[in-house]
Subunit: 276 residues, 6 copies
């Protein structure tokens, strides 16, 4: 909380401690999130904020999204930090929602999930994952404790059989086991060994489609969840939708989301009557 304030804030000190109102306005269409974080920021600095929308709701450009009351000084001190939370999180929620809707349209009624990855800003992961969730995505794999993830580096060190043997022995029975594969041979072996989830890692839509077909032929498709990941962007997303996987993961959701443009406008008390 003190990151934006520093130890001695002369800029706000010049502002008198008069009561004021402010409103946050978004300048473009978006799926809003970060409202509860912004409210907490304003509260921490001594003012109070009410949201005009629910978290995860679609908001048209030029909407007023947050009403703030408190001393002018307190409001100005909290302004930048609160906006940073909402602008960054809403950008992620908006991009996620676009991907979710696009995939739903392309999947012809089949259930398909859009997920993010662990490629997140250090220290800010919780908020980025929450923004994905509010956008309709799957904030999966919050951290290394969430499930057992067997990656190429694990396979290379121990081989797939040994990895799965250890995973079953070491990990709790409550956790699913997921294997990242880079070839259809590995995919088949992982399915035959009964892994819960298979992730196609950096494989082309064509190859993935072939893989799904093979699993269906062998009667293994229904026992396993299939995830595509690596090199997927909002632009090429739909070519992965049509492969028949259950989940599509995009690092882009947290990495490439734009900030939503929004600003805080101070109002004089006398202007109150106009809004009421």
């Amino acid at each position: 909380m003190s990151e934006d304030l520093g130890e001695w804030d002369d800029s706000s000190a010049i502002v008198p401690e008069i009561e004021a109102e402010a409103v946050v306005v978004v300048r473009e269409d978006c799926v809003i999130s970060g409202l509860s974080e912004a409210k907490e920021v304003f509260g921490h600095f001594g003012s109070a904020a009410d949201a005009a929308f629910d978290e995860g709701e679609f908001v048209p450009a030029e909407s007023e999204i947050l009403y703030v009351r408190g001393s002018a000084r307190d409001i100005l001190q909290a302004e930048r930090l609160a906006l940073n939370f909402m602008a960054r999180m809403s950008g992620i929620s908006t991009l996620t929602r676009e991907c979710v809707l696009s995939a739903a349209a392309a999947s012809h009624g089949r259930d398909i999930r859009i997920a993010c990855t662990r490629k997140t800003t250090p220290g800010f992961r919780l908020y980025e994952k929450k923004a994905v969730f509010l956008g309709g995505g799957d904030p999966h794999r919050y951290n290394l404790s969430g499930a057992v993830l067997i990656k190429d580096n694990h396979l290379q060190l121990l081989g797939m059989e040994e990895c799965l043997r250890r995973a079953r022995k070491q990990a709790s029975f409550t956790k699913k086991i997921e294997v990242e594969v880079e070839s259809l041979e590995d995919m088949l072996r992982a399915a035959e060994l009964g892994t819960d989830i298979i992730m196609f890692d950096n494989m082309s839509p064509l190859e993935i489609s072939k893989g799904v077909e093979i699993l269906q032929k062998r009667g293994l498709r229904n026992n396993v969840l299939l995830e595509a990941s690596g090199g997927i962007t909002p632009e090429n997303l739909n070519s992965y939708v049509s492969t028949g996987v259950d989940v599509i993961s995009l690092g882009a959701l947290t990495r490439d989301a734009r900030w939503i443009d929004m600003s805080l406008e101070m109002e004089s008390r006398s202007a109150d009557t106009n809004r009421g």
Copy 2:
């Protein structure tokens, strides 16, 4: 540090505690930063890392940038967090460097600074500002304690004379006073009142050019630093360079920077001889 690990990491638990080596490779040209943060992350998890480049150095695609030694388990636990630091920070340093070089070329030898803003990811500001600095930018205004910044909201509440009077009275003599202006009238008034820095806030290059000219005519140009900010992108940057300001601030440096693509490759001990 525990954000990516969680309380109970079964994935790494399946990896034996054998000694291993790994190397981080960048997949595209970049200005590298975050190396010291990555080294600290690996150190925290019990392995050791050496960098092959200096912070802020240009690195061509496919270069090995970091050599890691330690138990395979420790390396894999630190991997994601270390990469997240470097990929995010290097993206910012690279974009900053591009802007710095582009502005330098367009300025015909006049000194001009590229700066970032306070639009940063909450909790990660220190690293984003450092990445700007390593890219050659000015990480100015770390927080509200750095200088006295009189913004439109202040002006609206108190008027410019009163703001400056308070700033001079309240703030330490060691701090510069900066005023954000949205019109040339305000600019002139701020310059006449002896403010240290004037920021043109969301004004067009044309208008800013006119403002600089006015100040020069009135003999006020040399007593004040001029900064352009608001709506500036790497694309339209050079039209602001030619206005004659001293500093150009882009929120885009920290908001729109891409992640640099990089990955960690595990090496078996026997492969060591090949690299030596």
Copy 3:
């Protein structure tokens, strides 16, 4: 770390800062754990400790398990805290091992897991779970983030169908879904709805056996993990083993474990030659 020391420790202040050695001896047979915690405690207070056994190893009574070197003052300040870690954790590991071995003997070769619960000492859970793991148990359900657990309170509020529908919609695809049931009707419904894990909550061995039989008859047994929990003690454990469930959970592992008796013995430097 300061809990046992307080702000001003006059007792150790009377001890000169002479170099000393000490050894920790266990007074009864046990499965040892907490060695790495004890080493960290001694290290924190400025002395160094080496373990004579691996974590989770069986140790006969009167064995020396830890050798400590440092100033007499530092060793005495760390003593109580280090012993508290080892005595408490080893008690849990020992009780867990007894249950694991007893269940293995009674299960006639069928795989069966012994697990603990979330009934742990506040603030000390990580260590209690680790002690269960080192004793050979399943430290499952570290916290509410590990898996989706649908409890009687959830069922009562929403009904089973709605609970499962929400769980599938809200929770990540990487998580298993577990339902606690208190009747065979509920069990059957949960299995038919495709839940991953069913927990028999406070049901008698006889009833559980009947439940397993029903599932087998309906061909639902292989698609679900079965867990027995509630009212199970080391004494009545084996009557649950014979029901055919996959996992047996005992709150007793963390609640009722005894402390293992152990003590630290200071040695004068001159006695060194005897041990070398």
Copy 4:
């Protein structure tokens, strides 16, 4: 507080944010404690709890001890942690009360104190000591700062005269000095040197009785407090009561206390009218 929750709790996420009430019921007779901790836990998670008993009060089996109001989601998230505090602390208070009453009965009117030791769960000491206090025991020696405690390891290093000389010189005049003795010779010497408290460490009731007699004969009994410690259990407690010491310390109070059986029951709002 986050220990039981983790970063992402899907289980409670399936519960709607409807208002609910819950009641905690104890399943066996006990001396209750941990009520204020439980109330703080519920408060931290956004609900409110009222206690039906005072801390340290005797509570018969099947009593309702705590009424909770809040959103169903908040209540369920706090449930386990709140119960863990109360079940563990009440177990200690109950065992302490049993020992206090038993010793009082056996002492024929002479004042005698029941105390715990420093053998406590790391990180949870404050709560265990408080539970002893609420049970009527003496939570003495909270940590090494409380009094000067001269132990066998100190005596072995420096001798008793030197230990006492240093203790008097180094320690504040506000602190009492206690010496642990393992023989009647040491006891006599400590008493003659004017120590404030003598602790009989791991000595039999017979030997301690002899010691008390010797001190009385020599007229030293009234100047010193006598404590018995080591190997004392609730079962053999009364044989120590009859030795004539002032204080009896049992590690068992914090080490061997059972958890009190209690559970939280959710109530639908419509059931409200029944209780009111």
Copy 5:
């Protein structure tokens, strides 16, 4: 907050939890500060306090400055810490005010600032600087991030030209650059090189006066702020005022300030009627 309380406060435990009122009275004339800190301390311990004066206001001896309401126990636990804050901070504010008034009288209408230094109690700097500010002083140079300060050790390592070149290149354009000089030659060079602030370090009033004269003659006086520091006390302050510098810094403001004598008086509820 726990510094004064410790883990187990038996002294207050003897006080019943009855409602009480208390008043804090100052025993000597002073400029009061630390009121908001004291209110926070009382609040933290569960009572409530109202101030009868503003921060930084002059308060005559025997005034009641703070009214406290809460349980007698809570008030007594907070008493010492709250008084320590106010007594220490008010001492600094009072001394600062004395210096400010004395300098104003001696400066014949010329603006002159009284500032403190970085010689502050570790961990308590924020409060000491705030007390200086409330006394009317300049709390400048909160820490090393506030401005660029080039000290004798820097000059000795790199020379003045190189120091200023680096400072201009490395530091943000928003920061002023200050040079500490120990001779008039250095002063002149620093002024010619365009530094923002020059600090006369441990120089006599006579020499400083000469320095100011030289700068005026050369037409450099108006472009630079002048600060005197080192060896200045409230007693010799005015001889520095007459040198013509803009700022005078005294380590004495934070180092040598006396504690203001004040005490808390408990009132019985029945006495309430008298005060109302």
Copy 6:
């Protein structure tokens, strides 16, 4: 540690990362303390320091007390904080030593202790108490947990008999009980009721002398420790010594101690040969 550094230290950034040496010199006679704190500060910032004296040793003016090695940048960043620790703590140790020696001379061989009070800088108490201890004083009453202190506010609320009854019942048998008295009647009652320590609170030397005499006449003097406190300064100390009390407490030790004058001098590497 970051208090003096801030987030972005441009001043040290201008210093190259060359190896350097520095020495800290005291400018006046003192009893030195804070050496270990200073060493920790330098270590935290990456350099290493060796002390030339022991903590609590008398050091003549112009002595070199600490040798520092490291990068020039690291040393300069740590300088101010390290000096603040040593200058403040040594000032307290020096004043304490003066009082201890003065009281010893005046007491004609009778043991007498000089103690400090709880009037300490918030957050810095541990260091102030340690400085008193190193000066030869009694750092008594570290906080409210150290002993049972019955103050005027307690007596007023409950009366002395009730206070002592509760103290005996509530407090651990390991703690001494001290009563603050403001009259000889109260003193006599406290002694007759068997309190461990009596503190004469703000009473004149004459009255205290009378009190000691009364206790001797009644044969109560040997069973109780006597402390004088309130209004005692280094100047009037000896008039309290002659009253016959055991302990004299001065808030002045921590409140009025001067800072010891000391400074850090940077040395170029080439100068090394001179010192060796």
